[in-house]
């Protein structure tokens, strides 16, 4: 195991970098997109609700690998040249956003109706009430399940390996086949994932304690 670590250190660090980068990009955008579609779903507007529903149901129910392969293969053929890293990260963002949308929607629905009504009665517009009254409370409620989604996101970033995205899993496969030491290669890769997910997990717990 030490041999794998020392001998393939630069590959592993490169993999860690790409995994981190992809995870951070996907985390930011999937939270934004997810929240957007969650709001669509609770808007008092039938058309918007349907748009939200369709988006969530499509991307929540297709395997991540299929979505990533779609962006890797189909988009470059007909739309724009994108490489594996971009395709994988887009796929990861869209896939995760559908789960985050469902999570945030549950949070919004868990906030008492009276909050929205009270805010409106005090002269706030719908959007102001949503932004300043409902969403902050909703996010507080959904921090634990959101933490789950974020951790899943980091682990799901391993989908990049299948579209040549140079992430940790890609390097892991490559190292395993070069060194022919499959077990230790994947143990090392697993430890590198822990380096990302454990602090994330502890941070989410810390947030939960601080805000609850």
């Amino acid at each position: 195991m030490l041999y794998i670590l020392t001998h393939y250190w630069s590959e592993l660090i490169q993999g860690l970098g790409y995994t981190l980068l992809s995870s951070i990009i996907a985390l930011i955008f999937s939270t934004i997109i997810g929240t957007m579609f969650a709001i669509f779903e609770v808007l008092p507007n039938r058309a918007m609700q349907i748009i939200g529903r369709v988006y969530i149901e499509i991307f929540r129910n297709i395997p991540l690998l299929v979505i990533a392969m779609f962006f890797y293969v189909i988009i470059p053929m007909y739309v724009a040249k994108i490489d594996g890293f971009t395709a994988g990260t887009i796929g990861l963002t869209i896939y995760t956003s559908s789960f985050i949308a469902e999570t945030v929607r549950a949070g919004i629905l868990a906030v008492d109706d009276g909050q929205m009504e009270g805010a409106r009665a005090n002269g706030m517009s719908y959007w102001q009430a949503m932004r300043f009254i409902v969403l902050p409370q909703a996010f507080k409620i959904v921090i634990p399940p959101l933490g789950n989604q974020f951790i899943n996101l980091v682990k799901n970033s391993s989908v990049l390996a299948f579209v040549a995205g140079f992430d940790l899993m890609y390097q892991g496969n490559s190292i395993a086949s070069l060194s022919l030491d499959t077990i230790n290669s994947y143990v090392v890769v697993g430890l590198f994932y822990l380096v990302i997910t454990l602090p994330l997990s502890y941070y989410m717990r810390h947030l939960e304690k601080r805000l609850a």
């Binding site: 890797y72 470059p76 594996g84 496969n173 022919l180």
Partner: protein
């Protein structure tokens, strides 16, 4: 204080996990038993073959069997070792899974377009070579890539398959090119079609199969390496290896080998039958 204990607990747990996992690697199992004796008793040899490679090993969805040159050679060798009623059982492998599966004892031997290399010889034993392959390039018809030299430019993307020897080779022959490793040949071909790379590199036998399936693509530049395929067998299986080599010699001598070669490669454009026959 309580926090420190908890932290130590987590570290300890991780330590146990690692020790546990590495213990899996050192345990002696199925793979230590004598393959030849087991196979003779069960009248079956279990072969690891590719199922995604045209001409060598391809899953036929109509009857769910794997067909190809590798599969036929494996069947012929099985009959020579176990007699007429011997059965060849095929297990689908990829470049990544074949060595772990062999080491676990899930398969008795690998006959899956596997090149004999010194690094691999440290892990497994090889029979005599059963096919003289060499690495080549598959490109879109009309591509500016004519040989491996054309790839040696910064920013050129070449597609390979993870675990295949060809990836290491292309890094040697065209060090400036960027290599994209995909998980199998079907995916690599798809990536080539969608323009993720300008060329697909692997053994010519496989590329001929791909070219015959995809009319818009051709093999260029000829073989730039010598990569004989061998049958991989676990270390310490001397008697089984000897039997495989004997059987291989026999099918070469009695014409079975050439018949199988003709059956699969006879119609492939650009394939040099005279050079490959034995």
């Amino acid at each position: 204080m309580k926090k420190t204990y908890r932290f130590l607990g987590v570290i300890g747990l991780l330590g146990l996990l690692i020790v546990g996992l590495s213990a899996c690697g050192s345990r002696k199992a199925l793979s230590q038993q004598d393959v030849l004796t087991n196979d003779k008793a069960s009248k079956t040899i279990t072969w690891g073959v590719k199922a995604d490679t045209k001409l060598f090993g391809l899953m036929d969805v109509k009857d769910n069997t794997i067909k190809g040159f590798d599969a036929d050679i494996a069947t012929a060798i099985t009959k020579k070792i176990l007699g007429k009623d011997g059965k060849a059982k095929f297990v689908q492998v990829t470049s990544q899974t074949r060595i772990p599966l062999l080491k676990n004892g899930n398969i008795d031997a690998i006959i899956a377009t596997m090149t004999i290399t010194p690094e691999r010889e440290k892990q497994v034993d090889f029979s005599n070579s059963y096919f003289d392959a060499g690495q080549s390039l598959l490109v879109k018809k009309g591509s500016s890539i004519k040989s491996v030299k054309d790839l040696n430019k910064a920013g050129t993307k070449v597609i390979g398959v993870t675990g295949a020897n060809s990836v290491a080779n292309i890094k040697k022959y065209a060090p400036k090119a960027q290599v994209l490793e995909l998980s199998d040949y079907a995916q690599a071909m798809t990536a080539l079609k969608s323009g993720q790379g300008v060329a697909l590199t692997t053994d010519n036998g496989i590329l001929y199969g791909m070219a015959s399936q995809n009319p818009g693509y051709q093999v260029v530049g000829g073989a730039f390496t010598k990569e004989p395929y061998g049958i991989a067998i676990n270390k310490g299986q001397g008697p089984f290896k000897k039997e495989v080599n004997r059987a291989l010699k026999e099918i070469e001598a009695d014409g079975t080998y050439n018949r199988i070669l003709k059956k699969w490669f006879g119609n492939v454009a650009g394939f040099n039958y005279k050079e490959a026959s034995r």
